[in-house]
């Protein structure tokens, strides 16, 4: 059984070298996030104005920033923070969104209508602007960036969970579960929900990328992460002013890493979807 799943995984990966690449990249990011602090060459926070704005070299692979900090070390150490923000945000929206979506999809009626309106209301805002507003209103802190990112992603989980539950609800195993003496809520939680997980996992992976982009966008306009903490978005923002004057490495490396991380999660979502449902891959 495990063997056949592995076999299938291998088949998919061999058909899709890009998915394989994404998996490897994902592993790399996780590894960097977990162990980065052990092997970075410089203290990512230590400034040294005498070597500020040096181009990439053997000592400083990605160059140094305007305070003489090592860009490479900062990019590496930022991995953990970025993944943490995205993961927590996505976890929150996953829990809330899928719970609401499942209830709406299973019970229908007014529950569905209220949840649907809620999702519509959130989606009626340009999401990035809404996130900005929330952070600005609730206070400029990391935790609020997480909340804001979580909130704007909730509708997507509602939609996916709702759609999936609506399909699953009509399958006969749900009725079989009811006949076995399960209450509706229990049936939903222990029978229907686990079967919606694959679709939700796909959404989760895709949303990770989204969440990283969103958090980076917010810190780009100065919300969220506080300096001197290294975070990709804020590093691009800081570096943006230096591009025109020729110090491209300040923005390029964190921006590129950010792109690579989002890229990796998007492809991973694709690969997951392939595994879950080859027809639905988009």
């Amino acid at each position: 059984m495990a063997n056949s799943t592995l076999k299938q995984l291998w088949y998919i990966l061999s058909q899709n070298p890009i998915s394989l690449f994404a998996m490897l990249l994902f592993g790399l990011f996780v590894l960097v996030a977990l162990t980065g602090w052990m092997w970075i060459p410089y203290d990512p926070l230590a400034s040294n104005t005498s070597i500020a704005l040096q181009a990439p070299s053997a000592e400083h692979w990605f160059g140094t920033d305007h305070l003489g900090r090592d860009v490479f070390s900062r990019v590496v150490i930022a991995t953990r923070l970025d993944l943490f923000i995205a993961l927590s945000a996505v976890a929150i929206s996953f829990v809330i969104g899928s719970a609401l979506g499942c209830l709406a999809g299973y019970y229908g009626g007014w529950v569905d209508r209220i949840v649907g309106r809620l999702a519509d209301t959130i989606l009626a805002f340009p999401l990035f602007v809404l996130a900005m507003g929330i952070v600005a209103a609730m206070g400029n802190s990391l935790i609020n960036v997480i909340y804001a990112t979580a909130l704007i992603n909730i509708p997507f989980y509602i939609r996916v969970a709702r759609a999936e539950v609506t399909i699953q609800r009509n399958l006969q195993y749900v009725q079989a579960a009811l006949l076995c003496g399960n209450t509706h809520l229990r049936t939903l939680a222990f029978h229907v929900f686990p079967n919606c997980l694959p679709a939700l996992m796909v959404q989760l992976s895709l949303n990770m990328g989204w969440a990283i982009l969103n958090a980076a966008g917010l810190s780009f306009i100065g919300l969220g992460v506080r300096p001197p903490d290294a975070e990709w978005g804020i590093m691009v923002a800081e570096g943006a002013n230096y591009i025109i004057s020729g110090e491209w490495w300040l923005a390029l490396f964190p921006g590129f890493t950010l792109m690579l991380a989002v890229f990796c999660f998007n492809l991973l979502g694709d690969a997951l979807r392939d595994l879950v449902d080859p027809q639905k891959r988009t």
Partner: protein, 546 residues
């Protein structure tokens, strides 16, 4: 002289997630003009693949690995793409199962016909309407103007299939491949479609390949027979001799399993199981379930306050130990009735008296905790969909025990589950498998084991075999009959197939438009039907000519 269509040593392979798979090997088939050939087999026998390879419709991941297909002297395997394109629809036409989804859902029927005509230069923009009318007339469609301007969803399944046939006839093709053309249609529609196809074939001198799982239909409409199993041809016959004297064991098994007008449940397998040879116990006089004035009303969502009675005043009784058949076409309300009895839905009106207690008076919450939840169980139509894909066989069978019998002790559960598995003939090594690792018959057994786990008094069988191949159906029917006798269960057997219901039931109810139109003892209903509807139903059953 070479025959009209000659398939020799055909082997087809597919690239799938599990690697390269051989779908058919060594298939030989030859057919002459005006032949009507039946390719018979159960699912996975390779009958459709064979048909698709004729027109090179195997898709991107399939290919003809070996063999030859020659049509009227043309080599179709080596043929250039353009040639195949011109043969498709023009020389060889095809009709499919699920006619509703084989027509472009958002294009008017007339336009689709016109696409076809103009593609093959059978008509110009000006002459197309006339030609379309002719075609529709040919397939016995009366209100041509409506149908022409209709979208497929506005037509019934039978009507769509007629349109498909019209498409197939549009270019006066010489060979028609009909791939299970009546699957998914009601019995009465089935007959009219098949009559139409065979009539047109005769009239237009069409050769036909009929791909079907239904031996009865094959015997009624065809003159040549090919039986396939697991990608191989096991038996060929140029006449109906095959029905009298099947050579291959598989053909024998298939033939036995196919319900005929008079077949009994015990003879569905070549060797009848012993337990069925005993005389069945007489049903008791005690009433188990009484349905009185049952009504279920749905409010239609798209129109204002319009309602629709799915079940419209149904009355019947089921005695202890009896199997009651409930027959009707799709949408007649038979499923709703059974779901109300199983308490998966609430009745709008009427009483459901189970051992004298009106179940409708018990609230949902209480019902789940009450004894009744155990006493009424159900076996579902779709063996795959009714098993939670993430639960093992053990979990599936143990679920009702845990929930309803409150058995938590692992060893007790273990022994009970094994006992149940044994009872339904499920090998104990399958117990930790997941549903997708089981065959259709095994899944059906799991469903039955689960349903009888809490020792119900009434078991509702909702089309329990309609998704199964006939050979599997035979075994499941026998299993059900055995369980009824051994455990003294009462059944409400819901099905669209009179022939199947007949074999298990002592009494039969026929339903139409939410009402019961006929009820009585099985023999009476079958031999002397009173209502017109029952008569059509019985007539529509394909007769095995032997």
């Amino acid at each position: 002289m070479k025959s009209f269509l000659e398939i020799t040593n055909l082997a087809v392979k597919f690239n799938t997630r599990r690697g390269e798979v051989t779908a058919v090997t060594d298939v030989n088939l030859s057919l002459n003009k005006s032949d009507v050939v039946a390719v018979v087999g159960e699912s996975g026998s390779g009958k459709s693949v064979t048909a698709y390879s004729i027109l090179n419709l195997l898709g991107k991941n399939g290919w003809v690995d070996q063999g030859n297909i020659e049509f009227d002297g043309m080599d179709l395997i080596k043929a250039k793409k353009n040639l195949i394109k011109n043969i498709r629809g023009r020389e060889i036409a095809m009709i499919f199962q699920n006619p509703m989804s084989t027509l472009n859902p958002i294009r008017k029927v007339g336009d689709q016909l016109s696409d076809m005509l103009r593609q093959h230069s059978q008509a110009s923009k000006e002459t197309a309407p006339k030609k379309i009318a002719q075609l529709l007339n040919q397939v016995e469609i009366k209100d041509i103007d409506r149908v022409k301007n209709a979208y497929p969803f506005e037509l019934s399944g039978g009507m769509c299939q007629r349109v498909m046939i019209a498409l197939a006839l549009a270019c006066d093709s010489r060979l028609l491949i009909a791939d299970e053309p009546t699957t998914g249609l009601d019995v009465t529609t089935q007959k009219s479609i098949m009559d139409l196809v065979s009539g047109l074939a005769k009239k237009n001198n069409l050769a036909v390949i009929l791909i079907t799982h239904d031996l009865g239909m094959a015997s009624e409409y065809c003159n040549k027979f090919i039986v396939m199993e697991k990608g191989r041809v096991v038996e060929t016959s140029d006449d109906h001799e095959i029905f009298k004297n099947p050579q291959h064991p598989y053909t024998q098994k298939l033939l036995a399993a196919t319900p005929a007008q008079n077949s009994k449940v015990e003879v569905l397998t070549p060797i009848p199981p012993e337990f069925l040879l005993e005389t069945p116990p007489e049903p008791s006089e005690e009433i188990l379930l009484a349905i009185e004035g049952l009504v279920k009303t749905y409010v239609l969502t798209d129109t204002k306050h319009k309602t629709f009675n799915a079940v419209d005043g149904v009355n019947f009784k089921i005695y202890k130990g009896e199997c009651m058949g409930l027959v009707g076409e799709s949408g007649c309300g038979k499923s709703t009735t059974s779901r109300i009895i199983a308490r998966l839905e609430q009745a709008t009106q009427g009483r459901v008296l189970f051992e004298g207690q009106d179940l409708n008076l018990i609230s949902d919450k209480q019902f789940i905790k009450s004894e009744f939840r155990k006493q009424i169980q159900m076996v579902f139509q779709d063996p795959t969909g009714s098993l939670n894909p993430r639960h093992t066989v053990f979990q599936l069978i143990a679920e009702p025990l845990k929930r309803l019998e409150n058995i938590t002790d692992r060893s007790e559960l273990d022994s009970k589950v094994h006992q149940l598995a044994d009872q339904v003939g499920l090998n104990s090594e399958l117990i930790f498998r997941l549903p997708h690792q089981l065959s259709g018959g095994q899944k059906a057994r799991v469903g039955i084991a689960r349903a009888i786990a809490v020792k119900p008094k009434l078991l509702i069988l909702d089309e329990p075999t309609s998704a199964l191949d006939v050979s599997v159906q035979a075994i499941v029917l026998q299993l059900l009959e055995r369980l009824r006798r051994e455990l003294g269960l009462s059944y409400l057997f819901v099905s669209h197939d009179l022939n199947v219901v007949r074999m298990l039931s002592q009494r039969i109810l026929v339903m139409q438009n939410g009402k019961i139109v006929e009820s009585g003892n099985t023999d009476e209903v079958m031999n002397n039907p009173q209502s017109e509807f029952t008569q059509t139903l019985i007539q529509a059953i394909p007769k095995m000519v032997s």
